[in-house]
């Protein structure tokens, strides 16, 4: 009697583990697609952001390297060109008629030429670019610091985020865009880079300017930036998640 009972229990446990193993493997794919479960998994992003913001002081800088550390080849990822006649016309005349629009929740909306941008206070930094895919490259960036620019246009008190509108479409009909909050916007290393490795930014790397927000992953560093919009909420822009990749499931806070 006892032996049979034990066997049954063992048989049950064995079957239970086999079934749960199969459920686990198949179930994980289904869980991955369940909006409710994704919401639970996404809670980790808020924890990561709060913890990182707690250990990062406003001024902590991303590490800067020397010229000898530069990558021989810096991979251009995402869009490497913009399939748009007006952009191509700007490339052909060296962005002479290009304007960076700054609007939204600002006191004095602005429209700046590349020359005007180049005359603003600048910063040069050699930093490591970390792609979400896992690779890293080191490049030298020179660009206009965002802080004085934002002081010039005067952010309204209700502005909480800056949205960077870009020229490229990584998917047909979906323009690239990104957003950062004011902590990163006013960080000294946050620049609108117009030079890379001592030469004007090339088209594959986002000419005429790309954002550098050094304490986050590569997809936050929007290329082909055409306009900056100060907003109070990201809900009504693009897919509502604050960026092209964010609308496709990636974290808005890309510090990890």
């Amino acid at each position: 009697m006892v032996a049979r009972q034990t066997l049954t229990r063992r048989g049950f446990l064995t079957r239970l583990s086999a079934v749960s193993g199969a459920l686990l493997l198949g179930g994980c794919d289904q869980l991955s697609q369940s909006p409710a479960f994704r919401d639970i998994l996404s809670k980790a992003e808020g924890v990561t952001q709060r913890v990182q913001r707690f250990v990062l002081s406003q001024r902590s800088l991303a590490r800067e390297f020397s010229e000898s550390d530069l990558s021989a080849h810096f991979k251009a990822n995402g869009s490497i060109n913009v399939d748009d006649p007006s952009y191509q016309a700007q490339v052909n005349d060296g962005f002479a008629n290009w304007r960076l629009k700054i609007d939204g929740l600002v006191a004095r909306p602005a429209s700046l030429s590349l020359d005007e941008l180049r005359r603003l206070p600048s910063r040069t930094q050699i930093t490591r670019h970390d792609c979400v895919e896992g690779w890293s490259a080191i490049g030298k960036w020179k660009g206009a610091q965002l802080t004085p620019l934002l002081q010039n246009v005067g952010l309204k008190p209700e502005a909480r985020y800056l949205v960077f509108h870009c020229a490229d479409e990584l998917e047909p009909g979906a323009k690239y865009y990104e957003s950062i909050d004011l902590i990163d916007a006013f960080h000294p290393q946050t620049i609108l880079a117009y030079d890379m490795n001592d030469a004007a930014l090339t088209v594959p790397h986002g000419a005429p300017i790309r954002l550098r927000v050094e304490r986050q992953l590569g997809y936050k560093h929007a290329k082909y930036v055409m306009g900056i919009e100060a907003v109070s909420s990201l809900a009504h822009i693009g897919g509502g998640n604050g960026g092209f990749w964010e609308d496709r499931g990636y974290e808005w806070y890309a510090g990890i």
């Binding site: 009697m1 794919d29 991955s32 994704r38 992003e45 590490r63 895919e133 510090g255």
Partner: protein
């Protein structure tokens, strides 16, 4: 007939004794630690598949790869999966570099779909799984560590004593012959167990967490010494991968030992805490 009498009738010649082996916090944190590393491994391989190369230092220079998995076209026009470690290249078609997707078609991917989470290629979701369970893993680990240090579990149960360390050669031989301690000796972890557990708890697991954090640009700005310590972000990624391999090896040996040293007794002790030891005849 009551249960005790039945037991006595069927009892083997050797007498046995039930001891209380694992406390509730140890059992709970143990099972959370079954789930977390499984999910972390599978989602980690999904993340690895987004860039199937490993390097040393801060940059990922294509000409300085330590490990690389990729698919190429063979001489007959058919795709081939290749894995290069250092200067040696292996044909790994079907498993690494090239394997069949859910639809049965060949797919260029580092690790195959039956070991990644999700099974299909989806870096964003892999990251969501990874970071959620990384937090759970860290909280669980800190809970275990705090409890184990405060209540003396580390000192009492995990630290080998001098006599054990002196007899380590004998223990290794006994282990290789699959002879496990009985009686008084079975009341405690043996020296190999203790050393393996200490190495995992105080070296391997902290290292996998720290190298994981070192891949974060935010953490690198907050704690620059971490990236120095591991020799760069790409080194940290490589060490993270090696640690994961080490954990897989540990779990493999651990599960084999659980299976061959009395699987039901071991399972019961990790579920109810009660462990049967056979007293010497």
């Amino acid at each position: 007939m009551d249960a005790e009498a039945v037991k006595a009738e069927h009892a083997p010649v050797a007498r046995s004794q039930i001891i209380y082996r694992h406390t509730l916090p140890v059992r709970l944190t143990h099972w959370v630690n079954v789930i977390c590393p499984c999910i972390l491994l599978m989602s980690g391989l999904q993340i690895f598949n987004a860039h199937t190369h490993l390097y040393f230092g801060n940059r990922s220079d294509p000409q300085h790869e330590l490990l690389s998995m990729r698919a190429v076209r063979g001489p007959d026009g058919m795709p081939v999966g290749l894995t290069t470690i250092g200067n040696t290249t292996f044909h790994t078609t079907g498993v690494l570099g090239l394997s069949r997707g859910d639809d049965g078609q060949w797919e260029a991917r580092g690790f195959p779909n039956w070991i990644t989470l999700p099974s299909y290629r989806d870096l964003a979701t892999g990251r969501r799984w990874h970071f959620f369970f990384a937090w759970l893993f860290v909280i669980n680990g800190l809970t275990y560590l705090t409890y184990s240090v405060l209540n003396g579990h580390v000192r009492r149960d995990l630290s080998p004593n001098r006599r054990q360390l002196r007899n380590i050669g004998h223990d290794i031989v006994q282990h290789l012959r699959l002879r496990f301690p009985k009686g008084e000796e079975a009341k405690h972890y043996n020296v190999l167990q203790k050393l393996a557990y200490l190495a995992v708890i105080f070296a391997l697991l902290p290292l996998v967490v720290l190298t994981g954090l070192t891949m974060s640009p935010g953490i690198d700005a907050a704690f620059p010494f971490l990236v120095e310590l591991f020799g760069g972000r790409q080194s940290a990624r490589t060490i993270h991968f090696l640690c994961a391999t080490g954990i897989v090896l540990f779990v493999f040996v651990h599960v084999v030992m659980v299976l061959i040293s009395g699987v039901w007794n071991n399972m019961r002790s990790m579920i109810t805490g009660r462990y049967r030891i056979e007293t010497a005849e």
